[in-house]
Amino acid sequence: MTENTTHASHHIDLAAMQREHGPILEVKNLQVDFTTDDKRAVHAVRDASFTVYPGQWVAIVGESGSGKSTSAMAVLGLLPGTGHVVGGSIKLDGQEVSSMMPKQFESLRGSKMGLVPQDPMSNLNPVWRIGTQVKEALKANNIDIAHEKRSDLAKALAGEDIELKGNDDELFLGSDQLQGLLATATSELESLGLSGDALESKLQFFRQEWVPGSETRWHIAEDLIKAGVNDDRAWEIAKTYAKGSSMSDRIAGLLNEAGLPDAATRARQYPHEFSGGMRQRALIAIGLACRPDLLIADEPTSALDVTVQKKILDHLQSLTDSLGTSVLFITHDLGLAAERAQHIVVMYKGQVVESGPSLEVLQHPQHPYTKRLVAAAPSLASQRIISAHERGLDTRQLMEHAVKDEDTLEHGEHIITVDHLTREFKLPRRKEMFKAVDDVSFSLKRGTTLAIVGESGSGKSTVANMVLHLLAPTAGKVFYEGADTSTFSKAQLLDFRRHVQPVFQNPYGSLDPMYSIYRSIEEPLRIHKIGNTKSRIKRVKELLDMVELPESVMGRYPNELSGGQRQRIAIARAMALEPDVIVCDEAVSALDVLVQDQVLRLLNDLQAERGLSYLFITHDLAVVRQIADEVVVMQHGKLVEHATTDEVFNHPKMQYTRDLLDAIPGGKLQLGLDM
């Protein structure tokens, strides 16, 4: 509780400061229209208002098409295509920007407001080195690279810890001086009588901390003082060595600050040599390069693996806190928004339906849409289950999926058994083989759901493809009802296909765009020569009814349907042959929360009615809690942990599983949900 109070007092200080400064961003009754080809106006944002104060994280939450990104882009003056602001006002630090000329906007972007975009793969220019792209940002805004630019808020906050002794104290350390500084620091510490491990650990700290281009004179002085050097001597050393950095030092410093190790080398590389997470860090470095007062983070991590997501957001948060940067955080994940932001704005179909302090909105949602979102968000659902657990309530009713009890799980009949499955791939220009799947064994019991969880590259989809007999294993076997699938004849394989059906990840790719919905669903019947035209039409109608789609979609084509509808069509197609097993490979990952929830419910209902068995491949542990009986966790092709869902969530055995659980957004929220 003490901790809470200190935090609160600090919060009040901050609030007073914020109140005094006024909002950094004030959007009032914003209206954005897009013009279609036939000159009609589409209202993308209607009457939206929100306010961001210095040092705050404010989240805009909504589904795709809710207008959340459009609002953010309107603030930056970067609306795509035919978009334009038709009404309302946008004030940045008291200055009206919505009516500005492009040239005036240029002077605000970068220095006053920065952007961390959504997709790290497409947001860096492939032909320029990473360092060059950071440098552009600095040069465009005429940033004095020798000095740190600090916001008033950060200065004020820093004032609590250390007294600044003038502008010079914010000179950056250059790489030429680093060796000398370290040597002097070593001798200084030795003269203080430090030696052995104590000395080494201090030096280790210095080596990590003192990065050319991101470490300022007063930071160095502070570090030395904390290590025991007396004030005057510390300042003397800092002044001798930190004399301002070069451009390349500053670039490396910025990249390092964004969490890229070995930044000086990294700066000379091209984007394609970076992983998604590293690119996102580079984009964060670019967004913060000129120390903007406001950072717009547009789904900055949704394209990344969950553990990477968490690391990057943690880092971004500590970085913006120390710089005093305000963040407008755009996300589709309510749990994530509540975890990171103090204030939440919920948008739906271009309108703000609800806004307020994060926890309040989450705990007492008022608007029906917000209620719906809170109920559907998987991250929150698993939170609800945990909190119900803690209160000793029966959690079953909270789960949409009726989890089988231990007894059924132990004695259930194995319908699919995977035995020491290994798959190797040949990598281009490499001698040794790459093991995508390494000695994986598990079995799926009839009528239950087994989830395979892992991040990209864990080999989970490769396992799915081997189970589906689409990919031959290098070693090991897959058994269906006790029969080794590798020995199947053509006829047996066709029969196996009838019983084991897939639903794939990409709802845009798994349906042939040239096939009408009727032909798509009818295809399996045609392949297996079941029924005549009349009976097939009847069957397709039944199947559409089962996935709750109107008969009228039969004549339509996939491009006319939404992602969730396509995924329901894919499920109908998979159900056409009345299979026993459905392999869902990331089947709901690409869908919006509410749609995802709808598809999951559908899968649950089908299982309850027909005793289906699911092999559910996903990267999202939160979803697993809702649907699976058993969980297999995979990492780098290996099976890390295998247990019942409760066991995995309540008593994870492996560190990796714990990391995955930690990464579920909203995990640390004190919810006390009352709905």
Binding site: V352, H367, P368, G509, L511, P513, S516, G555
Partner: protein
């Protein structure tokens, strides 16, 4: 939370960040993911057709091509003159009644030669394109679908033909068969050297269609690779092949005219714009109109097909289709 606590809380909240809930009547809730049943159902082709119909470039080129087709099939409707009836008496006579374009050097009626020239150009262009698309698609699709050594061999052969400019190759071969007079000679030669680019495009299209997820889905439903090729991959590779086919039709018409112009194409007995232009080139200083008519006819025909190709590309190009 008590009323008092709430009051206390709202004091802490900064201006502009008070709790706000939109009135439900202004923000009505819609059912999740409902199907818009009012819009008409459209296949990719129907969609492309709708885009085409609204493209003025398509309308203009379609009308032109239609007229050209009628002229090519029924030249008798437009002129009663025999294009090959030539007497030196009328050599280079100016336009007169019934002879709107006048006469050329040999004394042939220019108007009827321009009309009959359409037949040659159109038939060579269409036949060559059909043959090229057929051969190119078969070779390209085979290479793309089977991959491995089949692809390696076919792609090397493709490289070899690609390095040889089509005009050069055509002249070399046609020079050998100067004696044969049928238009099939020139069509076959064009196909021999023209399949390369279509094959490259077909290979690329099949390769990318092959890797789409719906093929894997069909396989998992029990479909065989051959069935996938015929039912899924080929239909999905057609668009780029149609685009290159339409665009190259114009190119083959130019090529025929060029070859005839150079004197290695069709024999002089066949009425051809290219041949007529060649015959008239010495009249540039004295009677430019003799050169002018066949040139304009040729240019309009090619323009019509190139425009059509552009319009078709706009309608079928996957890049412009967002879904």
């Amino acid at each position: 939370m008590t009323q008092e606590e709430l009051m206390h809380k709202s004091e802490e909240v900064l201006p502009g960040q008070q709790r706000y809930v939109a009135p439900i009547e202004q923000t009505p809730l819609q059912s999740v993911d409902s199907v818009n049943e009012s819009a008409p159902a459209t296949s990719m082709w129907a969609d492309a057709w709708r885009t085409l119909r609204h493209n003025p470039m398509f309308i203009v080129s379609a009308i032109l091509i239609l007229i050209l087709l009628v002229v090519a099939i029924f030249p008798g409707l437009f002129t009663h003159q025999d294009p090959n009836y030539c007497t030196l008496d009328t050599s280079l006579d100016p336009p007169s009644a019934g002879h709107p374009f006048g006469f050329d050097m040999q004394g042939c009626d220019m108007y009827s030669r321009v009309i009959y020239g359409a037949r040659t150009s159109m038939s060579v262009g269409i036949l060559a394109t059909l043959l090229v698309v057929l051969i190119g698609t078969i070779i390209g699709a085979t290479a793309g679908f089977f991959g491995g050594w089949v692809d390696a061999v076919l792609s090397r052969i493709n490289d070899i033909f690609f390095a040889l400019p089509i005009l050069l190759g055509a002249i070399v071969v046609l020079q050998m068969f100067k004696t044969s007079g049928s238009i099939w000679k020139i069509v076959l030669v064009m196909a021999l050297f023209g399949w390369v680019s279509t094959a490259r495009i077909a290979r690329g299209a099949v390769l990318s269609a092959k890797n789409l997820e719906f093929n894997t889905a069909s396989t998992a439903l029990g479909s065989t690779p051959m069935r996938n090729l015929l039912r899924h991959i080929l239909p999905n590779s057609l668009a780029p092949i149609i685009v290159i086919g339409t665009t190259s039709l114009g190119t083959y018409i130019v090529l025929e005219a060029t070859l005839s112009f150079l004197g290695v194409g069709l024999p002089t007995s066949t009425v051809s714009w290219g041949g007529d232009i060649a015959k008239a080139q010495d009249l540039l200083r004295t009677d430019p109109m003799v050169l002018f008519y066949p040139s304009v006819a040729l240019a309009i025909t090619v323009l019509a097909f190139i425009m059509m190709g552009d319009a078709v590309k706009d309608a079928l190009d996957p890049k412009s289709r967002t879904a």
